[in-house]
Structures are given as structure tokens and as C-alpha cells.
Amino acid sequence: MTIPNPAPPGADGGLQGDESVAVQAGAVAATAHAPWYLRLPIVSHLRRSVGLQRGMLIAGLVLVAGLLLTALLAPLIAPYPFAATSADGTAFGTQQPPSAAHPLGTTVAGYDVLSRVVFGTRTAVAVMACAVVASLFLGVLLGLISGYVGGWLDRILVMLADAIYAFPSLLLAIVMSIVISGGQSSAWGGILAAALSITVVFVPQYFRVIRAEVVRLKAEPFVEAAKVIGTPHRRVMGTHLLRNATRTLPLIFTLNSSEAILTLAALGFLGFGIEPTSAAEWGYDLNRAMADATSGIWWTGLFPGLAIVAAVLGVTLVGESVNDLDDPRLRSRRRRKGARR
């Protein structure tokens, strides 16, 4: 994860004139005159992007929109419920190759692959939303307090965050899922367990970013001025610091969303996910499909895997483009015809 850097001084002046200055002056000032809806993170990035970079951003947005729509409309899209092994009294049969009745075939347990892939979006979106929102709140809150208060509290929290950050996140998620659910659980129990396991992994990232910003901002004259005129601490933290420290959040937000999907799938793959009858989960389905692969049955594993890739790809493309657009060194320029580096 690259935290956006200010442009190196004199970076050959090729940046688009007023815009590069505006970016250096901070994202808030960049589009201060545009109406509010054009200043939203993703929208403003879309407006700033050009060429291939815009293509990547749009591709990502399309994939994310597809993911959300599928999750929303899952019962309409999927031919069967995710845990059904029969319809109209006839069993689906196990490991059936793709056919008209089952466009993506059936699994070793007799589930319809397409239905499970479609319903899997719901689990993925639910876990993603819970994990990212929870870690956002916790991480931002802790970072604000730690950076503002300072002293021994700050030191302990930083050390704790660094220790957790250095730990392999999957192992941490495994430990957490053992703690929370004892391994296996119901639909919402499993979703929350996975989300909380992932939250613990992410909190240090938000914490570090917000804390660093707060420590920097605390020394700014406007914060001192606010303190001098007797603004309460809560207001300084909430208004003066928080508003200015959240610039890098959209990037971590998207990176974490994609990581949440991957961690959920990994937990499911290791058998620490959600039971197949309580919710459809791609990682679990892939786990069951590993044995199929050896005997040449490709459809049970291929489609849940592709679903994971599409979901993560969409979110990552958005995050990646946002990162590049915030970093003046990486932003594509509108090149003059024939100009060559």
C-alpha cells in the first residue's frame, strides 16, 4: 500500500498546471468550487482521470456495481436456493456437468453451482461491509485519541498496532475465528465471526494512518488557535482533526474491502467459514472442489474461484486508480501528440 506522497519539488512541471497545485494544497481545495456531488471521493477521481487510468477505474466500478446488484437481486437471478439439492421432488444429482437445468453444473454435495455462486455475493458483501465499517470506526477512533492525547497511551497503542500489523493476517483471522465461533457457525454468526476476525487485522491500518495525520495536524496553527480560544477537546478532535485526517481513507477502504473478501474465502477454504446450509460461501465451495479437480471435474471449483477474482478485481481496480490519481507522480497526463518520455 503506497500512501500518496506530495509531488517531488520540480517534477519537470509536466503536471496539469493548476491541478497539480490544487492537489498539493489538499484534496478539499482541489475541487472546492464544484457542487458537492462532484466532490465525493470516487466521483472527483473519475473526473480527474484520463485515458487508460479512467478505463481501469470505470472497469472497477462496473465490477463493483455488478457485485452489489447480484447481491441485492440474488433470489431473482439464482435458479434455486443456495442450499437446495432438489427441485420439484427430483434430486439434482451430484457432480453433474453443466447442462440446461444446471448451467454451471452441480457440486459433490448436489448443490447447484450457479445458485451458490450468485448467493455467495451476499455473504461476501455482508462480510465486507461489516468488516470495513467496524474497522473504520474503531481504527479512526483509536487513531484520533491516540494521536491527540499522546503520552503513554499513544506509545502502548502504537506498539500494539505495530505488533498486530506485523503478524500474518490470515493466522490472526484464524485465531479470531476460533475465539469467536469455535470454527463453525450459523449464517449471521459466521458472517459476523469472519467480519470481526478481519476487523482485528484491519484496525491497525486505519489507526496508523489516522494517528500519523493527527500528530502532524496537531502542530498546525489552526489547531493551536482553536485550543487557545477554548474549544473543547471533543470538538477539536471531531472537527479540526478528523475532517482533515481522512484524506487517505478511501484508499485503505477499498484495499481492505478486497482483502476482506480474500480473507473470508481463505477462512472458508481452511474449513473455518460458514456452514454450507446456512449461507453460500465461495471459499468453502472451493475447498470441496479441490478433490474434484484431481479427477478432472473443473466446474465445481472454476466458477466460485472466478467469482472471487471478479469481486476482488473490481474493488482493487477502484482502489488502485484512486491511489494513482492521488499520487501526482503516478497520475497519467494528457500527453501532447508525439511527446515521448
Binding site: L52, P168, L270, T294, S332
Partner: protein, 363 residues
């Protein structure tokens, strides 16, 4: 610790010339500080994991609960000392870890340290192969992407890198298996050796943890081939994950260094464009790779758990998944702790290497 690092170098560092004193003393102090920082990191992790694992209950209840009567269970718990206050158990555990005792697994009654010694080598071997794959794939492709910035080649490579990141290791493994094992039959489906290879390997007197090393020592080309054929798919699956990250890193940094005044000045002196890329701009762009490699070790170990499960590569990760399935939480805790120590130590080594290469890296 950090406070000690900020004090001036003592009389020990009174070398004749000013510059050598600064670099020598600074480096030694940095290494020492960085080394001492491992201790709180590992201690915090151990504490967190220990208490987390105990929130839900003791390992005996987790492993055997429901299968024994409450009385038997209580007797077993008392025998293992799980009825003592948690803080005493914690201190006991820490003391054990200091002596190299990570507990004893329930399912097979073996000390965790023995499990770690037996399977750690396999994991290390896999991770080493994967790092080689990652470097071979990531660095040259990152250079090409940076040279062709914002053109089609760059776009294709970046999408490839993102795809590498977006694809879970086990799905890559599944695809590789489907294509190269089941479809084309070039590589074995799973395991570290064929049955014949295992027999040959079993005849070696004092085996090292690395199969490849042993095979080379035996000088048996068929065996070397067998080891490599088994390692190919897992190494590629795990290596592509990190390779994509290296690609992006090299690209980003080289775009930065290619714009540096010194590169411009070299270009104006008539240095060939290819030499600019491979020499002038590459070297400084590689330093962040070394730093990131430290973080990658953590990620690779996580990935190794999944890769080993996918390919039945009998290493720590495979074993971890087995113990998890058997609810043997003492073994799980031991393996997790051990991996945490490995991560902390490798981060330390990487930081030291980075400091040796780049004199600006100091506390």
C-alpha cells in the same frame, strides 16, 4: 529502547575519521535497537494470542468436550494444569517458550517444538522457491512496465499484477492443477515426492530439511527432477502472489527514479536508454523491494498455509490446517507463535539488510 538509540555514540565508537565513526556507530546501534525491538513485538503477540485462545475455554474442553464425562474432563484439566488461575498459566507458558517448550499436542502427543522442527523445513523450502519465482517474475516485468509507462504494455502488466493479487492462492493452485497436472499431465497433482523418490530419500543418513539439497547431495538426477517437478506448481502459485506486488513496486519506484535529475543528466551524457533502466534507475528502485520483502514474509507464510493445503505439501501450514480440523488448539497456538517469531526475526533481518544497502535508513 528508542531513548537509548537517541543518545550520542559512546567512547566505543571513537574511530579516527568523522564519517566512519558516524556510519559504524550508527549502524551498530541501529542493529542493536532494531534487535531489541523484536522482544516486545513477540511478547505482545504471544500475550494477545494466549489470552485470545483462552477466552473461549481450555484446549482440553475444546478437543475432548462432549466425548468425556464432566468428571473425566475435570480430571484431565487438573492434570494438565488448566484449573489454575489464568495468569499463572500464562507465566508458565512464557517460561516454557523461553526454554523452547511450546506445549504438547493432544491429537498425537508430540511436543510442538518437534512438529515445528520436522515441518518447518518444508515450509521454508516452499517459501524460498516462491521468493525466487516472485523476483524472477516481478522485477523484470516491473522494469518493462515502467519503461512503457501508460502504454498498452504497461496496462497489460498492471492488470496482470492486480489479477495476481486478486486471485486467491488456492484458486491459482486449482487452475494450475487442472491445466498442468490433470490436463497436460506435466506435473504431479500434490505432495513433495513420488513414492519412488520417497524411498530413495529415506535412504539418506542425516537428512537436511531441504529435499532439493539432499537430492543434490545424493547426486541423483532423477531424484532432483522429481523434487523440482513436485515443487514447480506450489512455488508458482505462491510466487505469483508476491510477484504481482513486486511488479507494482518496481514500476512505481522506477517511474520515480526515472524522473530524477541524475537520470536526466546521465541521459544527456549519452548513456543508452537500456542502461539507464537496468542500472541508473533500477538500483535505487530496488531498496523498497527489500523492505517490502520483510512484510511479504508475513504474507507468504499466510499464503503458505493455503498453498500447502492445496498441494498437500507437508509443511507447517498443512499441519496447522490438520490440527485446526482436529481442534488441537495447543498445536495451533504453538505453530502460530512460531510463525510470529519467524516473521519478527525476518523483519529484523530485512531491516538490517536495508540499512546496510542504504545509509539513509537509520532510526
Amino acid at each position: 529502547m528508542t531513548a537509548a538509540a537517541e543518545t550520542q555514540p559512546g567512547p566505543a565508537a571513537s574511530a579516527p575519521s568523522r564519517s566512519s565513526r558516524r556510519s559504524g556507530g550508527g549502524l551498530g546501534r541501529y542493529v542493536l535497537t532494531r534487535f531489541l525491538l523484536i522482544i516486545p513485538t513477540v511478547l505482545i503477540l504471544m500475550t494477545v494470542v494466549f489470552f485470545l485462545m483462552r477466552i473461549t475455554g481450555d484446549p482440553i474442553t475444546a478437543a475432548l468436550g462432549g466425548r468425556l464425562t464432566p468428571d473425566e474432563l475435570a480430571a484431565r484439566r487438573a492434570e494438565a494444569g488448566y484449573d489454575r488461575p489464568l495468569i499463572i498459566q500464562y507465566l508458565d507458558y512464557l517460561g516454557g517458550v523461553l526454554r523452547g517448550d511450546f506445549g504438547t499436542s493432544y491429537t498425537d502427543g508430540r511436543p510442538v517444538s518437534a512438529i515445528l522442527l520436522q515441518y518447518g523445513g518444508a515450509t521454508a523450502e516452499l517459501v524460498l522457491y516462491a521468493i525466487v519465482v516472485a523476483l524472477v517474475v516481478g522485477v523484470p516485468l516491473g522494469m518493462i512496465a515502467a519503461r512503457n509507462r501508460d502504454r498498452w504494455g504497461d496496462l497489460a502488466l498492471r492488470v496482470l499484477a492486480i489479477l495476481g493479487y486478486a486471485t486467491p492462492v488456492f484458486f491459482v493452485g486449482l487452475l494450475l492443477k487442472l491445466v498442468f497436472s490433470v490436463g497436460l499431465g506435466w506435473f504431479p497433482v500434490a505432495g513433495r515426492l513420488s513414492t519412488g523418490g520417497e524411498r530413495t530419500m529415506g535412504s539418506i543418513l542425516n537428512p537436511s530439511p531441504f529435499y532439493l539439497l539432499d537430492a543434490i547431495r545424493l547426486g541423483d538426477p532423477a531424484l532432483i527432477g522429481d523434487v523440482l517437478r513436485h515443487a514447480a506448481l506450489p512455488a508458482v502459485a505462491l510466487g505469483l502472489l508476491t510477484g504481482g506486488i513486486f511488479l507494482r513496486l518496481v514500476r512505481t519506484n522506477m517511474i520515480g527514479t526515472l524522473e530524477m535529475p541524475y537520470v536526466d543528466s546521465a541521459r544527456s551524457r549519452g548513456v543508452a536508454e537500456s542502461r539507464l533502466t537496468t542500472r541508473h534507475a533500477l538500483r535505487p528502485a530496488l531498496i523498497p523491494i527489500i523492505t517490502v520483502m520483510g512484510m511479504q514474509v508475513a504474507m507468504m507464510l499466510g499464503g503458505a498455509v493455503l498453498t500447502e493445503t492445496t498441494f498437500e505439501w507437508r509443511g507447517l501450514g498443512y499441519q496447522l490446517a490438520e490440527y485446526m480440523a482436529a481442534r488441537d488448539y495447543v498445536a495451533v497456538q504453538g505453530i502460530v507463535m512460531m510463525l510470529a517469531v519467524i516473521v519478527a526475526v525476518s523483519n529484523f533481518l530485512v531491516d538490517v539488510i536495508a540499512a546496510l544497502i542504504d545509509p539513509r535508513v537509520r532510526y
